[in-house]
């Protein structure tokens, strides 16, 4: 990973904790029948089955990370590359462990992935990244794994997954991009000039614009490396993660998709009037 451009690093295959391995082994009984656990709702569960997939089990990955401090120039807008990389690396570790659990389960992919950021009262400066999703496999035995050979990942709900397949696309992987940015403080002179005025603050605009663009660009780059034709459901979140108020992380996440051969035309929508409020 070179400075400032956290493209998709080849994260090493992760070793799983012992209890994870035991749990995965127990998801098949002595006769080899599967028994799954899943956080999908009933409707999602039924739609996954309707799409020709079966649930393999709940998969998760965690990484507890100490995110330290990076010195920044008070009056300068700049990316804090050390923090960017730390935040990226921590998420990537959690995701890689989740993927590994899905791989151990023999799944084709993971849907409904959610990335949580947790803090605990006893861990100052420490952030826990947690990835949770439901591993699925195709009922007909066909392989839906990503080009990398690992299970596909996606943050789509069961409903979205069904819709996506119906409209002729398949998920490839969860792609992300982030950027931790220090927004310059305004000098006293600048403050005097703007007080009582209605005007754009070009340096703030520029800083936030830049940071979002960087995060999006990295997300796009990951999707290109995956050989995807596009990214759906992209969200950009910003958070200061209890750092200095002028330090902001922009985090973009979405699911990269590629077209598949369609057996039938996508279903036409039906208009309904709901009677419950």
């Amino acid at each position: 990973m070179t400075q400032g451009t956290p493209g998709r690093p080849q994260t090493q295959r992760q070793a799983l904790p012992q209890h994870a391995v035991e749990r995965i082994q127990r998801s098949r009984n002595a006769q080899g029948q599967r028994f799954f656990t899943s956080d999908l709702s009933v409707k999602e569960f039924l739609l996954v089955r309707e799409s020709g997939f079966e649930c393999a089990g709940l998969v998760m990955g965690s990484s507890f990370y100490h995110v330290g401090y990076q010195k920044s120039d008070w009056s300068q807008s700049q990316e804090m590359t050390v923090l960017t990389q730390a935040m990226y690396q921590a998420r990537e570790l959690a995701m890689a462990r989740m993927e590994e659990e899905a791989n151990e389960l023999g799944a084709d992919g993971v849907i409904g992935v959610r990335l949580h950021v947790n803090r605990h009262s006893w861990g100052e400066d420490m952030i826990e990244f947690l990835a949770v999703g439901t591993a699925v496999y195709a009922r007909d035995g066909s392989s839906w794994r990503a080009p990398s050979g690992m299970p596909f990942t996606s943050d789509l709900s069961g409903q979205d997954f069904w819709m996506l397949l119906k409209s002729g696309y398949r998920p490839i992987s969860l792609v992300m991009g982030n950027c931790v940015y220090h927004v310059a403080h305004q000098s006293l002179r600048g403050w005097f000039k703007s007080v009582g005025q209605n005007q754009e603050m070009p340096n703030f605009t520029q800083a936030l614009y830049d940071a979002r663009e960087l995060a999006m660009e990295r997300l796009q780059y990951e999707a290109q490396l995956d050989g995807a034709s596009g990214v759906v459901g992209t969200q950009i979140n910003e958070s200061t993660h209890s750092w200095d108020a002028h330090v902001i992380e922009f985090f973009a996440i979405g699911t990269s998709v590629a077209p598949i051969a369609m057996k039938e035309a996508p279903p036409a929508p039906v208009l309904v009037m709901t009677v419950n409020e």
């Binding site: 028994f35 956080d39 039924l46 100490h66 009262s121 861990g123 949770v132 819709m163 929508p269």
Partner: protein
């Protein structure tokens, strides 16, 4: 069919009621269960990641007791199951109150036997009327609300460890290990409990929650909870409605 003589009570909404009736069930009565427990402290080694086994056992037992009470009541009412079950916990210091509430339901046609658990007890689930409808229409039946509990003590970091990490960006492997392990144990136990109830489908709607209840800050309870389901083995349920794309006329 005793509807006229004995009015039912439930906390179901009107559409939930309609959907229940559509799959051949009727509500009987709102059932409540509660259990009171004294949860003692278990000593733990300051510098060690470990499960507090006694506390895990107690927290699970308290939930199971509240649920068992509901089942006993529902059974006495002649119910085939309980839907919309919720469990609430109030913990003050060491005194814990676990309360459970749900709506007892039965099959109208009187063929509820095949919906019951293997010992003839009524099924339990936390599904809403709509989810219950979708599940049954999709060819599955709820078996039991299942829990997995793991109370874990996360090791304190030594001063030496703290000095090493200050100002650094790095993974804290021992913490990762602790939280990861605790969650895996909780989820793994859900799987075991579901199997013990004889569920053959899987567990849906699972949720993993963390709680501390004002205990020592390094002691965390992980609870995984979901509804274990089994396929319904009869021809009528093999044909399930095909999903359609719908545009709602609301908003």
């Amino acid at each position: 069919m005793s509807g006229a003589a004995h009015p039912f009570t439930s906390d179901l909404t009107i559409d939930e009621l309609l959907l229940l009736e559509d799959v051949g069930f009727e509500p009987i009565e709102l059932v409540l269960g509660a259990s009171y427990f004294h949860i003692g402290y278990q000593s733990s080694v300051w510098s060690q990641n470990q499960e507090l086994v006694d506390m895990s056992t107690m927290m699970l037992l308290a939930r199971q007791t509240a649920m068992a009470e509901i089942q006993t009541q529902a059974h006495a009412l002649g119910a085939d199951g309980v839907v919309g079950m919720r469990i609430e916990i109030e913990l003050e210091g060491h005194h814990a109150e676990f309360s459970a509430v749900g709506t007892a339901v039965r099959r109208r046609a009187g063929d509820g036997e095949k919906y019951r658990q293997h010992q003839g007890q009524p099924f339990t689930c936390d599904l809403s009327g709509a989810d219950f409808w979708a599940l049954v229409r999709g060819g599955f039946r709820p078996v039991s609300l299942v829990h997995g509990v793991c109370v874990y003590h996360v090791a304190h970091q030594g001063l030496h460890g703290w000095f090493k990490s200050v100002g650094q960006n790095q993974e804290m492997q021992s913490f990762t290990q602790a939280l990861y392990d605790a969650r895996e144990l909780a989820v793994g136990r859900v799987q075991q409990e579901a199997a013990a109830f004889g569920a053959t489908g899987g567990v849906v709607g699972m949720e993993v929650r963390e709680g501390n209840y004002g205990w020592h800050s390094h002691v965390i309870e992980f609870v995984a909870m979901g509804t274990a389901v089994s396929p319904i083995a009869d021809a009528a349920h093999e044909l399930h409605a095909e999903a359609r794309v719908v545009l709602s006329a609301r908003d």
